[in-house]
Symmetry: C2
Subunit: 322 residues, 2 copies
């Protein structure tokens, strides 16, 4: 297997991202502190460029392309934030990006990806295999395939969010991190081990898609069907080889949150913190609200990574109105 990325890689990523990514604010709320019975710091990656932490990993990966890779371009398959992140990073670095997306993807997502300057290669979900199409593009045209999470440069880039948080607010007793494929969680673990060694880092995944929790318990990567959850950024079917290797070594535990808890957290963010957060971005707060006491973390210093804010306005409005 590839060498695992290290904290030094996160530091190098932070240097590459300087002036390119926003240094997002770490916000606090007395109401949140009172409700949770802890001192809570929210790292607001919803306020990151293109609306999610994914920009960090994508940019860090593309910034390390050599001349031949730059010329041939990058390819990825994603209908979510990774697509827009690679498209934007490609534009900034003058690297052509091709994104393989389903023909029936929401028109807004297709338009957003094209708006960042990427070429969209449509495929039919029912008759074609997006991984195969991507690999063919990579082989035939020399493009570099950048996967959404299981890549050392992507993981190192995602770790810069926790790096900034810990630099800004100091050591923490615990961190709650949304978990899909594990890029953000693995990167966070690298940053936390170095900057706040006693910090317990928890991954949080949707209750309906607890493959990460089951993988941790069983010791090997569990595959599941695409889970039915509001958290569309965490609908992954399995962890990656690299992300799982880091996670199993260092994570305190993997928790879950129900869709109902996600909606409650989403409403809290909107009503009390004036933030638009996508359901996946609510995983950390949702779990913290339910589990803090059980975990013996009351009265402690807690970080919550708010991973993104990319939610369609009509959908957001309907979740608020529930």
């Amino acid at each position: 297997m590839t060498d695992l990325p290290s904290f030094d890689d996160v530091v190098a990523a932070a240097r590459r991202l300087h002036g390119q990514a926003h240094r997002t604010p770490a916000l606090s709320s007395r109401t949140a502190n009172a409700q949770l019975g802890a001192e809570v710091f929210f790292k607001c990656e919803s306020l990151q460029r293109m609306g999610a932490f994914k920009f960090r990993g994508a940019y860090n990966a593309l910034a390390q392309f050599d001349a031949a890779q730059r010329k041939a371009g990058v390819v990825a398959f994603s209908s979510g934030n990774h697509a827009q992140a690679l498209a934007l990073a490609g534009r900034l670095l003058s690297i052509a990006a091709t994104i393989v997306m389903p023909r029936d993807a929401p028109p807004a997502k297709l338009a957003a990806t094209r708006g960042y300057g990427a070429t969209v290669r449509l495929y039919d979900r029912y008759t074609e295999d997006r991984e195969q199409i991507s690999r063919e593009l990579a082989q035939q045209q020399g493009m570099t395939l950048i996967p959404p999470y299981d890549h050392p440069h992507v993981i190192a880039g995602q770790g810069t969010a926790a790096l900034e948080l810990l630099e800004d607010v100091g050591e923490l007793d615990a961190l709650f991190v949304p978990l899909g494929g594990g890029g953000l969680l693995a990167g966070t673990l690298l940053a936390a081990r170095a900057l706040s060694p006693r910090c317990r880092v928890y991954g949080v995944e949707p209750e309906a898609g607890n493959d990460g929790q089951r993988s941790l318990r069983s010791g090997s990567i569990v595959h599941i069907p695409t889970p039915d959850t509001l958290a569309d950024g965490a609908q992954t079917q399995h962890l990656g080889q690299i992300t799982f290797a880091i996670i199993r070594r260092e994570v305190a535990d993997i928790l879950t949150a129900s869709d109902a808890d996600l909606v409650q957290a989403l409403r809290f963010f909107a009503e009390r913190m004036k933030l638009v957060v996508e359901p996946t971005g609510c995983l950390g707060l949702a779990a913290a609200r339910r589990e803090l006491e059980r975990l013996g973390l009351q009265g402690r210093r807690i970080g919550i990574i708010v991973s993104g804010g990319n939610v369609d306005l009509a959908r957001f409005a309907s979740l608020l109105a529930r």
Copy 2:
């Protein structure tokens, strides 16, 4: 008339507010820059404690109470952000706050004000005069009446938002500031004159309530009936004596924004910047989008003060869904 507050008063207010008010982030958005054709910095007072800049002025006023005033408490009439701001500042400084509110105020606002520990004195809008009730409470019980904008300590406190913005991003070519009674605009003028002398500061009020614009043109304070506008934080009927004296001396101009433009700006904040902003907080962006070219400000450095985020979730959802 009272001596007008000065920049020194704003600096003193910033010292008092240190560690009490949030130093709110100055956010930028490449999409906003591209749409406006300028470099734009948003001072996000929607992320301030209790959700609006009003906390700054209220706290600055209460922090200067003498022993007798502290003992007797503070009284105010407001059904909006000023009520919650005074209630919260009173709680933090252990000063009893009484807020005179209409009996038919939204239950959520009554609950929020009580939630911050204030006593609510209800009155009947149709048969009672809230100013008279407040004055009686002040006279009979020795309470100090703190008006929502026309008070030197309130104005100086509100000026700390622009002070922070200019400290954080450096000098600006123009600033767009929501205008109701003029506390925020007057305070901003004091800060901008000292820290960015060439900065043109524009007040922005609702099109349906352009009393400020008419006052500036005519040279004396114009009174209007309560205007019918989405911007409920700027439904004031007239500027104050002190705020008008500062505004007429220094403002570049007073602009207006229609309700339709406010809704467009509100949607932009939610969709592209992931922020929940109340309609009044959208005044600056709404005017900048329409007027920047006419004002010769394209390509320049622009500040926009986003005054607050206190909008009922159901109302917010319905504005998003329009």
